[in-house]
């Protein structure tokens, strides 16, 4: 996504300088929401104000909305089809593996140590086995990070 955006916005379009692009990328990553849409709304806003932001974010979301809508309709029509069902029976365990795999690479990039390893473990147990909403986990983590950072200096 990022290389595509960069070539369209910076290289081809010349709408933004490389530095502005990198700044926007940092802000988009730090904000809630879908990264690609954040990029789009921010770039649009920079170019043409609020209207530009609205147009760009809808433009970035529209293709996926249309594609998935068609797929959802297709699935509704082929609901219970034996071959579709068999295909997805094969796929489902693989999807779970695809979700589990990035845990390990993310653990590395989050620089977990022996002292901090309990944090993901406890969050995981709270969500998966005790039914706590991930929203609470995120809120508590954000506030703790903020407070800890303040106290440390």
């Amino acid at each position: 996504m990022v290389p595509l955006l960069e070539s369209e916005i910076v290289d081809k379009g010349g709408y933004l300088s490389k530095e502005e692009f990198v700044d926007i990328m940092a802000v988009s990553q730090a904000s809630p929401g879908v990264f690609a849409i954040n990029m789009a709304s921010h770039i649009g806003n920079k170019l043409h104000g609020v209207k530009g932001g609205v147009v760009c974010s809808i433009g970035a979301a529209l293709p996926s909305i249309v594609i998935i809508l068609l797929i959802a309709m297709f699935f509704q029509a082929f609901k219970g089809n034996v071959y579709v069902e068999k295909f997805f029976r094969g796929i489902r365990p693989a999807v779970v593996a695809l979700i589990a795999a990035p845990c390990f690479s993310l653990a590395k990039s989050a620089k977990l140590t022996k002292q901090t390893l309990w944090i993901p473990v406890v969050s995981c147990v709270l969500i998966a086995f005790l039914g706590v909403s991930p929203i609470w986990i995120i809120l508590v983590a954000a506030v703790s990070g903020f407070v800890y950072g303040r106290l440390k200096k």
């Binding site: 879908v34 365990p93 979700i99 989050a110 993901p120 998966a128 995120i138």
Partner: protein
Amino acid sequence: MLFLKIFLTFSKIGIFNFGGGYAMISLLQNEIVKKNHWLTNAEFTDIVAISQSTPGPIGINSATYTGYTVAINEGYPEWAAILSAVLASLSVLWLPFLVMLYISRFLIKHSDSKNVHNVFAGIRPVIVGLIAAAAIQLMTAENFSSPGESWFAFLTSIIIFCFAFVGVRLYKVNPILLLVICGLAGLAIY
């Protein structure tokens, strides 16, 4: 009522989505499957598979798919279901959009980067837990079958899981290719 609920739920998903697509899976599953029972675990897993294989972000994809499917399941006509899909997708977007506008106006120049950094230092470790929880919660009989139901299907699922895990982790196989291979295996085996 359904539409209001869709709007509120997906707005919530949008604003609490930190840390990328995989982190969002836990949030989505909690709201869509566990709380509202709009989709089964198997249907939800299928959406993740579809999102992996189409270019769009999973946040938008699952909103669109859920919006449409729920409305159909609840007996609404086709046009209302399409509307519901669009509503769900836009609900994910609007709050983060306002945040982005605010940030771009006030924060980008004299940015409060120390505090933002601290907040993310807090969030990053729990994201790992969130993703692990999503994976664990999808290890259900719906997705893997069970020894009681069919030993053959259960073991096949475990083998597919291990194959896919090793493929992605160690050999960096393209996820779409991997899903197609496993789907074809499903067609051949079952």
